[in-house]
């Protein structure tokens, strides 16, 4: 059994970098290399950004992050109790028609080894992502 952190964070843009620093401290302690730590920072920030942009019903809410640490991997779960969405809404980015938005989930999937999105309309969203220690896959 691994170690378990959880954080409850105010849904405000100014706190995403606090989450980034916490995640990078955990990843650093686990022995991830610099490039992997950067990947984890960006991926968790994308998930937090979505929780803040799309995942809140009112400004006073917090969202929650779980970190599961074991010898071989870091699992991060970002959970909000917001509007939720239907996962087949997600489109791949289209370079012929670049858009200002729509890159977040694509980036998370590119940087992490395993990503699972669970969303329930009206109930909320959870993005679970795993990064394995050791060489990049």
């Amino acid at each position: 059994m691994g170690d378990h952190f959880s954080i409850s964070v105010p849904s405000k843009p100014e706190y995403v970098n606090v989450v980034r620093l916490t995640a990078s401290a955990i990843a650093c302690r686990m022995g991830f290399n610099i490039e992997q730590i950067e990947d984890i920072k960006v991926a968790i920030a994308e998930a937090c950004t979505n929780a803040i942009k799309h995942g809140i019903k009112n400004r006073e809410e917090n969202f929650k992050i779980q970190f599961l640490v074991d010898e071989e991997k870091l699992e991060i779960d970002v959970e909000d109790e917001g509007h939720g969405f239907s996962c087949n809404e997600i489109e791949e980015p289209d370079l012929e028609n670049p858009k200002e938005g729509g890159l977040g989930i694509f980036i998370i999937k590119s940087l992490m080894d395993d990503v699972q999105i669970n969303s329930n309309i009206g109930k909320g969203t959870s993005i679970k992502m795993i990064k394995y220690l050791g060489d990049d896959l």
Partner: protein, 106 residues
């Protein structure tokens, strides 16, 4: 605010030189967007963005750059991303944005 933008218009080459220091994320993106748009209101010109001291960017920041690029492309201008750190150029590559921005000094 952990972002610092310094701008310089080079009249001879009709180009904006922009130094961005710090992090572009959901917290700072609006300021970056406003600053860059204001420059275009003042003078439509190519952009050279010096990223030597840009330590972090994510989709929110890329979105801002895409928005500016779209405005520039209408006037056949472009954005040069100069000296991005490895973590930053990685994001341009995985998103394919390296094909629509000009990236130098990787």
């Amino acid at each position: 605010m952990s972002i610092h933008i310094q701008t310089n218009y080079n009249k001879d080459e009709n180009i904006w030189i922009v130094d961005i220091k710090g992090e572009i994320d959901i917290y700072t993106a609006n300021k970056v967007k406003e600053d860059l748009n204001k420059m275009l209101d003042e003078q439509m010109a190519d952009f050279k963005i010096n990223c030597l001291e840009l330590t972090y960017i994510d989709s929110t920041g890329l979105g801002v750059l895409i928005g500016i690029l779209k405005r520039l492309k209408k006037e056949e201008k472009n954005i040069n991303i100069v000296n991005p750190k490895p973590n930053i150029s990685k994001l341009f590559h995985i998103t394919g944005l390296d094909k629509i921005f000009v990236i130098e000094g990787e």
